[in-house]
């Protein structure tokens, strides 16, 4: 999508979204990766003498109802949430590319059928759909990934299909076809790289939605099981202590805000980049 700035030179201003978003997301990712291998305190060790401590230098986010260090638990939880969300996006993106490419490029009866199914699935809020799938598959980490992956696929299918429809009659594709290039090569070598700028934006949005949806599911107690934690299950644990120790809810809550905001700005930045 070329935008003409009334004949002016293209805007070369600093892409503030990209920088801030990349920094925020980068910090979270570093924090999460470190958290997977090392945390300042044990994430499960309980201590009767440390219950409900307000934030201090040794426990920057305070301690929870079992006397566990919230900072360490949030570190670990971010990692768990991030891994789940990345897997969710991976599943739905791969499925989205396959289905979107085929329906978008070929059209016809396959397109009609697949898209009506996608419309039907799209009719349900993704979290509701995930709830239904989980009630069929059962709780647990893998099932959350599968359920959200399925729930998020339709939006990717739509985006990829739209791009393929736009590009399938482009001159270079018509020529490739005339030269007798085989179909998979046209789909995935000639067209696919050209949709990446749009695609990455939707991957980032998908990642955000996955973080929020996973938190929602864990908040309802059907995601990762105790004593492991994700951001959502920590929020749910903290709910009963809002008045007594607000930092308990604040830490995972702000982390969700930070992560989602960072990824949203990053995707906005990527969107601006291609103009």
């Amino acid at each position: 999508m070329k935008v003409f700035n009334n004949g002016k030179a293209p805007d070369r201003k600093l892409n503030i979204y990209l920088i801030v978003g990349a920094v925020m997301t980068g910090l979270v990712l570093i924090w999460a990766v470190v958290g997977i291998f090392w945390t300042p305190y044990s994430t499960t060790q309980m201590s009767a003498s440390l219950r409900f401590h307000a934030p201090t230098w040794s426990h920057p986010f305070g301690t929870d109802n079992f006397g566990r260090d919230i900072f360490s638990r949030v570190m670990k939880a971010v990692g768990t949430s991030a891994i789940i969300s990345i897997l969710v996006v991976a599943i739905s993106a791969v499925l989205g590319i396959l289905l979107g490419a085929i329906t978008g490029y070929f059209g016809g009866i396959v397109d009609a059928v697949v898209m009506r199914v996608v419309d039907a699935v799209n009719g349900f809020p993704s979290i509701l759909l995930a709830l239904v799938i989980i009630s069929l598959l059962g709780k647990g980490r893998q099932n959350v990934v599968l359920a959200l992956g399925m729930a998020f696929t339709p939006s990717f299918v739509r985006i990829v299909r739209g791009e393929f429809i736009r590009l399938r009659d482009a001159d270079y594709i018509v020529r490739a076809r005339l030269m007798g290039v085989n179909k998979p090569r046209i789909l995935f070598v000639h067209i696919l790289p050209n949709i990446f700028s749009t695609f990455w934006v939707s991957v980032m949005i998908g990642f955000n939605n996955a973080i929020l949806a996973e938190s929602g599911l864990s908040y309802l107690g059907i995601g990762v099981q105790a004593p492991d934690a994700t951001l959502g299950s920590m929020l749910s644990d903290a709910q009963g202590y809002l008045a007594k120790s607000p930092w308990f809810a604040l830490a995972p809550g702000l982390t969700i805000v930070w992560t989602v905001l960072g990824a949203a700005m990053l995707s906005e930045g990527i969107g601006k980049l291609k103009k």
Partner: protein, 539 residues
């Protein structure tokens, strides 16, 4: 950008909305429990409280006054008004105000005479003779006659139509009217605890099925109206036989299924009494209302399936007993307000309870546990899955603490959170589990919690199999006096502890919010909301 922000806020909103839902799911699962307790005879209970709080009970000062209306918040709708057929514990606790039996439960766990003035038991323990109290009136104004008593007892014992409505009463073989104030009941076997079943309501002769629409009893309050999903209203029985009771003119039981709504109503003063508070609610109400606390009629435990490897080894079970730090569990899940227990007896039943906490100690003894594990052939520990009903936060939290405590002695425990319904079928009925955290409800008959651990009991879901226990229990059944039974009950508790049958942990406190100007609220060791003694204090 706007779009992402709006997605974000919508999700935030959705999560707030879900908060409301969790509150209400929690509550409804609670009433499911109460219902299930009675209908399937599962006796598993009771919800979930978390957290700790030091509750300051500010007793209101001032003289009791007569009159006034109190609104009591209840968590679930009632399942009927016929006192003989209702099954839900949540219904019976309300009907306690409308109906009375020949005898009646008291707050200290004993019985007092109600419709009967006194009673005597024959030497052989097979014939009960009840002398009826003079001048006890039904709510319809009629005096209670021996005919009414005979009818009521025959109805519950199945003599009337062959189906006993109260199972313990089926031992009654005859109800005879000796004279207009004396009724004689003959039973076919001796059971010193049968007298507790005579708390069954006395209703007018022939009223039977009508009770559901128009309940008539002899209790301190008479029935006024019932609106499904809304609540039930009762009013003072001016003719009540206990002089001076009740104080209140009217009591409304209002159904509030959401915990959040209940909090708002309490704070707004539209509800004056709200039982079974979660500890997070206690935090909110502290300082604003009286929050009263008493041990509940439940025993919580880490139940161990005595027939699965390696828990079938008594040394392994004893190691687990040593590994448990009950003081820590008490602090973490009940704020230190619960009573630490070691066997299956309610501490409130003082005459039968024996304190066995010293056997394994109330805090962890890691060396002892490890040594026993080594002797049992598991020096490196083993894997243990603890199945926990996920709707009960208190049990989930307890399990979480126990997992850590077991880890300290090398047992690699993990939590399997399951639905309440699958808990009932897989764990309780099919006994297909290794360990679970849950609680059993007791009642005022001391043997109630102990009889399930005999090897042949259908309720013995831990598969406890001890010849000693069965032998002593046989003596209980043969014993004809409660004193004698008491001795054997204590022996049974000791056997459970010595054999490390199961890791009994806590008797968790029941907390009730009561408006600041109310006095006289009483806790019962049974599931009851007694409004007769509640009064407004004078200003």
């Amino acid at each position: 950008m706007k779009k992402y922000l709006s997605i974000f806020f919508v999700t935030l909103l959705a999560m707030t909305a879900l908060t409301g839902c969790t509150g209400s799911t929690g509550e409804s699962s609670e009433d499911n429990t109460s219902t299930t307790v009675s209908t399937t005879d599962t006796d598993t209970t009771q919800t979930g409280t978390t957290d700790d709080t030091n509750v300051d009970v500010v007793a209101p000062t001032g003289e009791p006054t007569y009159g006034g209306t109190v609104v009591v918040g209840i968590q679930q709708d009632i399942d009927g008004l016929d006192p003989h057929t209702v099954t839900a514990a949540g219904t019976r606790e309300i009907l306690f105000n409308i109906f009375e039996g020949l005898v009646k439960n008291t707050a200290n766990g004993d019985l007092m005479c109600a419709v009967a003035e006194d009673y005597s038991l024959s030497e052989d323990g097979l014939v009960y003779t009840f002398n009826l109290r003079q001048g006890v009136k039904f709510h319809n104004g009629n005096l209670v006659t021996a005919e009414d008593v005979k009818y009521s007892l025959e109805r519950v014992s199945g003599l009337l139509d062959g189906t006993p409505l109260i199972s313990t009463m089926k031992t009654i073989t005859a109800v005879d009217i000796l004279d207009e104030k004396t009724v004689q009941v003959t039973v076919d076997s001796v059971n010193p605890e049968l007298i507790y079943s005579f708390t069954a309501a006395i209703i007018p002769n022939g009223s039977g099925e009508d009770e559901n629409a128009n309940p008539i009893g002899t209790g301190p309050f008479s029935f006024v109206s019932y609106t499904p999903q809304e609540g039930i209203v009762i009013a003072k029985n001016a003719d009540y036989w206990q002089a001076g009771l009740p104080y209140l003119d009217k009591v409304e039981f209002k159904i509030i299924t959401s915990g959040e709504t209940a909090l708002l109503e309490l704070q707004a003063g539209t509800v004056q009494v709200y039982p079974y508070l979660a500890d997070s609610q206690v935090t909110e109400l502290e300082g604003k209302m009286q929050v009263l606390s008493a041990p509940s009629a439940t025993v919580q435990a880490l139940f161990l399936n005595n027939s699965v490897e390696p828990l079938n080894n008594v040394k392994v079970r004893q190691a687990i007993m040593y590994a448990l730090d009950k003081d820590e569990i008490n602090l973490f899940v009940a704020g230190g307000d619960a009573t630490v227990i070691s066997s299956a007896m309610l501490p409130s039943l003082e005459s039968y309870y024996v304190d066995l906490n010293d056997t394994y100690g109330t805090s962890a003894n890691v060396e002892m546990a490890k040594q026993l594990l080594t002797e049992a052939g598991y020096p490196d520990g083993f894997d243990l899955v603890i199945s926990v009903p996920s709707s009960y936060e208190v049990h989930m939290q307890t399990a979480e603490v126990i997992v850590e405590q077991l880890k300290a002695v090398g047992i690699n425990a993990s939590i399997d959170a399951i639905e309440w319904s699958s808990w009932l079928s897989d764990v309780y009925t099919d006994r297909n589990y290794a360990a679970t955290v849950c609680a059993l409800t007791g009642d005022s008959t001391p043997g109630y919690l102990l009889n399930r651990f005999t090897s042949t009991s259908s309720k013995n879901f831990i598969n406890f199999d001890s010849a000693d226990y069965d032998e002593v229990y046989a003596k209980v059944v043969a014993a004809t006096s409660m004193e004698e039974r008491g001795i054997y009950y204590k022996e049974l508790q000791k056997i459970l502890v010595e054999e490390a049958a199961t890791g009994f942990t806590l008797c968790i406190a029941n907390k009730v919010a009561v408006a600041n100007d109310l006095g006289g609220y009483q806790f019962y060791p049974v599931y009851v909301q007694d409004m007769a003694t509640v009064y407004y204090v004078s200003k």
